[in-house]
Amino acid sequence: MNIAPGRGLPREYPPEPGSPAQARSNLVMMGRQDFTSVLLRLIGMELYKLRRRIMSKVLSSISILAILLVFVVILLLLLVTLRNTTALEGPQVTAAADPLLPPLSLYIAVQVIRNLGPILIIILVGTIVGGEYGTGTIRLMFTRGPSRTQFFLSKISAAIICIALGVLVMVSVGMLAGLLLNIFTGVTPNFAFFSAAWLGHAALYLLAAMLNLFMYAMMALFLSTLGRATAAGVAGALAWSFFEPVVGGILVVIGRFARNPFGNFLSTLPDYSISSNIGALLDNQNQYLFFGSSSDGSSPVILPDWHALLVLGVYLLLFIGLAWWVNERRDITN
């Protein structure tokens, strides 16, 4: 008889219904066992664990404090400017107070998220994924019933929920803080910019901000899965996020100096980096939201949205696909 080898290889026997399951104790309340129900329970479990972690509370506090601090600093700078400059007229004072008020306060909030958010989300995702290997709880999770894919998807879903909540809370807190702090300037907010179109673009802008964090989250997920450690995910993704723009800048400079086809090639490479494409998505919405419409084509578009989405999609496919593959195929030893 040819003995078929392990999982993932050709099946020799058809799936068996198995022996009938014995009844459990009356106190054991089992939930539905379909794929989605199991996945939803696992997501709930991940969020429960996050709620109970001190780390997630610390990271949330840092994010809220950071955005509050930025708006307080803006207010202080504005007050200092107003005190030292007597020449400012009414419209100029109003313009100076713009960063505290919508729509520009949205821009400020998203800029804070864009710069601080990746660091926080990398730490969070690196820990929730790599920590399972570090503590060995991956063994516990993989022997309880859900498939590895469900377990993997629950981690991604928990990251998405954290990102969405984080962005919405930070933006809300930032804009609200701006409005409240604006009381000290005495400038009346003007909501004339508000329209359905603006709201649509603001939603896209926030989605782009979330996508920015999701990219780094998936990078941390991939690296911590690959390295079976929190440190691998956190250090690797942080290093990427810091060095990618630097390396991109260097490549552009070298390319310009070279002035040959290879130089041109080098200078176009940053167009395929994560930071450039996220930047492009956000900047393209900036045109509509804060700096006048570019629908007439007058404002320069560095990278089109379709290019940015395509490049980021490929990165996501690589990060998620490889992490999933490693997760599925890996032997869980010590």
Binding site: I3, P15, E16, S25, G31, R52, T135, L140, G145
Partner: protein
């Protein structure tokens, strides 16, 4: 080797066929054929590095076999793992939980991961299993503050949480004090009485002998013995006879050998050894129920035993006999016969005595 088709019948809980795992050139588990029947308390024995934990990991789908298959509850674990695992409660090596969560919170997480309802629906069950392992008063304490014994007991609580049909315990008494070990033994017996199938990997052979009805012994990744504990122990039984004079001892051995040649098949062998007091004694490999017959045989030849001790076999002796090469050279005939099947899985009994413990 003859092929052994994995079993799919309702009475077979675990059936492996040619299960093999190699890490590079190292073959951790080789051609393993295991059979665990419903209701068994199955002891899985072997020296360190013999492949016990690797086997358990393969059964639970943590590692992928290089070859072969494992059928659990009649389902192939390579393809139907998610249907199998909810029916198993397992501890693999030292149980590990989330250090920042309390014992109860960890069980809530395990409950959710095991397919149990979230929220308060399973709080009574969580309390119940914490009560069983006597951790209820420390339920709210952070896991990182638990002692090794408490961690082990929380692992057992997690194992029992879903009231599984198959309880798979890898060294469950590590870190437990004697009272804790006793409690676990009692617990295993209670679970067995409830019809659970227990797969127990342990180094503590006395513990296994006390609770298991069937065992498998692994060495260097090879299954060297699988069978009923009672059967194994029966073959390890000896009758120790001491006579007053050394020439009587020689004479007694000659009489017993003669009897053996004349067809008394329950005398498997004998040898002379010096006991602790320095007296020569005859160790007869024979079931202890024949002690009186041995005495009578000697008496009929005017040899009267100064001492006669029925010596019950222990799993430890059987284990050492099978796994220690140096002792097998001077092995008692009975033991040598047992060890004859090294590297060839030998089923001592094809019909396990379900529910009937070898020694209790």
């Amino acid at each position: 080797m003859e092929d052994i088709t994995p079993l799919y019948d309702d009475n077979t809980i675990i059936s492996t066929s040619r299960l093999t795992k190699a890490f590079g050139n190292l073959v951790a588990v080789n051609d393993l054929h295991l059979q665990v029947m419903r209701g068994d308390v199955f002891g899985f024995l072997g020296p360190n590095g013999s492949g016990k934990t690797t086997t358990i990991r393969m059964l639970l789908g943590l590692i992928r076999p290089t070859a072969g298959r494992a059928i659990i509850f009649g389902m192939d674990n390579a393809y139907q793992l998610s249907s199998i695992l909810p029916r198993i409660g397992a501890i693999v090596e030292t149980p590990v939980f989330y250090p920042y969560l309390s014992g109860a919170d960890n069980l809530r997480v395990v409950a959710a991961a095991s397919g149990m309802l979230l929220g308060s629906a399973n709080e009574r069950r969580i309390d119940e299993v914490l009560e069983i392992v006597e951790l209820r008063t420390q339920a709210k304490q952070a896991y990182r503050k638990y002692s090794l014994g408490m961690k082990q007991r929380l692992g057992i609580a997690a194992t029992l949480l879903t009231d599984p049909e198959l309880v798979l315990l890898d060294e469950p008494t590590n870190g437990l004090d004697p009272a804790g070990v006793y409690e676990i033994r009692q617990l295993i017996q209670r679970l067995s009485a409830l019809g659970k199938t227990i797969f127990l990997s342990s180094h503590i052979l006395y513990e296994v002998q006390q609770v298991c009805n069937r065992v498998a012994i692994l060495q260097h990744g090879n299954l060297i013995k699988q069978g009923n504990v009672s059967e194994l122990l029966r073959r390890g039984e000896q009758v120790e006879v001491r006579l007053n004079k050394s020439d009587e001892t020689e004479e007694a051995v000659a009489i017993l050998q003669q009897a053996q040649e004349q067809g008394i098949d329950w005398i498997l062998g004998m040898r002379i050894e010096t006991n602790r007091q320095g007296h020569p004694t005859i160790l007869i490999d024979a079931p202890t129920v024949h002690s009186a017959e041995i005495n009578a045989l000697l008496a009929r030849n005017n040899l009267f035993a100064a001492e006669l001790h029925p010596h019950e076999g222990s799993l430890e002796e059987v284990f050492l006999e099978l796994t220690t090469p140096s002792t097998s050279t001077g092995a008692r005939p009975g033991m040598a016969a047992l060890a004859g099947g090294i590297a060839q899985p030998t089923l001592i009994s094809e019909t396990p005595d379900n529910g009937k413990r070898g020694t209790q």
